[in-house]
Symmetry: C2
Subunit: 230 residues, 2 copies
């Protein structure tokens, strides 16, 4: 009779999308929303929305839909957004600086609490209201500021070491922007954002479409014959 609290990974990744959508409609004064409408706005299938929401043990009202406010509360609770998650950005270069300047994080419960670099000429300088600290100060910063999430914005070479240090300092959640394979022990969670990967995937599909077009033009009868075989 165990609690069925196990939320599938795929669902977890969609909850933030629903959350944002709900905040949008809430701002427009909408108080109730159907799975159909939410699905449309979130760009997914309605059945998927209902199933996803059902994992929250969420109570929609049949014949009516879901109460937007209530859904937002449930969802925030489930995602752990009832508290702040102080973020440390490691590597204040091009990208790290842009992230540090970005206001969108603090707004949503992810305040940038520390900037960290290894370059002695950067350490000690002030950027975006924060004094840049040295990587060696990490454990102290985690203690002091309760850093919960580390963002790696260093070159690929340093990424694994930074991750190791973050984990050693007690940071269990890491977001990696460096184009490198980084591994963390099981008790930690690592997610990656890989620009080059995204572009290469786009080029794959871009290319395939071009080929597809050419094929579609030239193939004609042969194509049908070929496909029917399958």
């Amino acid at each position: 009779m165990e609690r069925q609290r196990r939320i599938p990974e795929a669902t977890v990744a969609r909850l933030p999308v629903y959350l944002r959508t709900l905040l949008d409609v809430q701002a427009d004064g909408v108080t109730t929303i159907s799975s159909e409408r939410l699905a449309e706005l979130a760009g997914v299938n309605a059945a998927k929305v209902r199933k996803d929401l059902s994992y929250l043990g969420s109570f929609g009202t049949r014949g009516v839909g879901y109460d937007v406010d209530h859904l937002l509360v449930q969802m925030s609770r489930e995602l752990g957004l009832t508290r702040d998650w102080p973020v440390a950005i490691v590597g204040v270069g091009n990208l790290g600086a842009a992230l540090a300047n970005y206001g969108g994080f603090g707004d949503r419960g992810f305040p940038v609490a520390a900037l960290i670099d290894a370059d002695p000429t950067k350490v000690g300088t002030i950027f975006g209201g924060h004094t840049i600290r040295h990587l060696d100060d990490l454990p102290a910063l985690v203690d002091e500021l309760g850093i919960a999430i580390g963002i790696i914005a260093t070159p690929a070479v340093g990424a694994q070491e930074v991750a190791d240090r973050l984990v050693a300092a007690g940071v269990k959640s890491i977001l990696n922007f460096a184009p490198a394979v980084v591994t963390v022990p099981e008790q930690a969670t690592l997610r990656k954002v890989d620009l080059a990967l995204e572009l290469q995937v786009l080029s794959f599909y871009g290319q395939r479409d071009s080929i597809g077009l050419a094929l579609r033009e030239e193939l004609g009868v042969a194509a049908a014959a070929k496909n029917s075989g399958a």
Copy 2:
């Protein structure tokens, strides 16, 4: 006897990781690599590597492994990396500027060919070697420069419109950084990078782990009581 050229999405997303790994080992002078070793370096399962590579129709040599150079050629061809894919960055703000400054794109076949903004005070100014052009110039730029990929780095509000314009101008591949649901017609491909989503997913697992710890420590009856209270 149909060509089994349909590569699964999940595989496509891993090919860039293999590619990068192979480039790394190639730089170290390695000429042959086993699926086992490649898997280790790429952080995946060896069987998965073999299956993925088999979609390339790739010829490994049993008893030996894969020829690194050959694999790189095949993989680049499959991913469409034998040509350049000129990129246009739309929205030269915080993030757009960082992306424009980043050297890592041009290196790998994705030269930044155009910077685009809608802000009249930015249009005409020079940034990182490019004159910032107006969104209205998009069709001309696509013709002139052969823009193949559009990167959306505008605020969320403008994202869908920018996407529509990109598609209308003939850009079939789009990478969206704005936290908004953007849809494109079927002939186009859109991928998104969603920072807030990544952080929220991290907070979900971060929270769950803390709870998990508490549960593991106290388990049994007490835990149930505690949860019911929350």
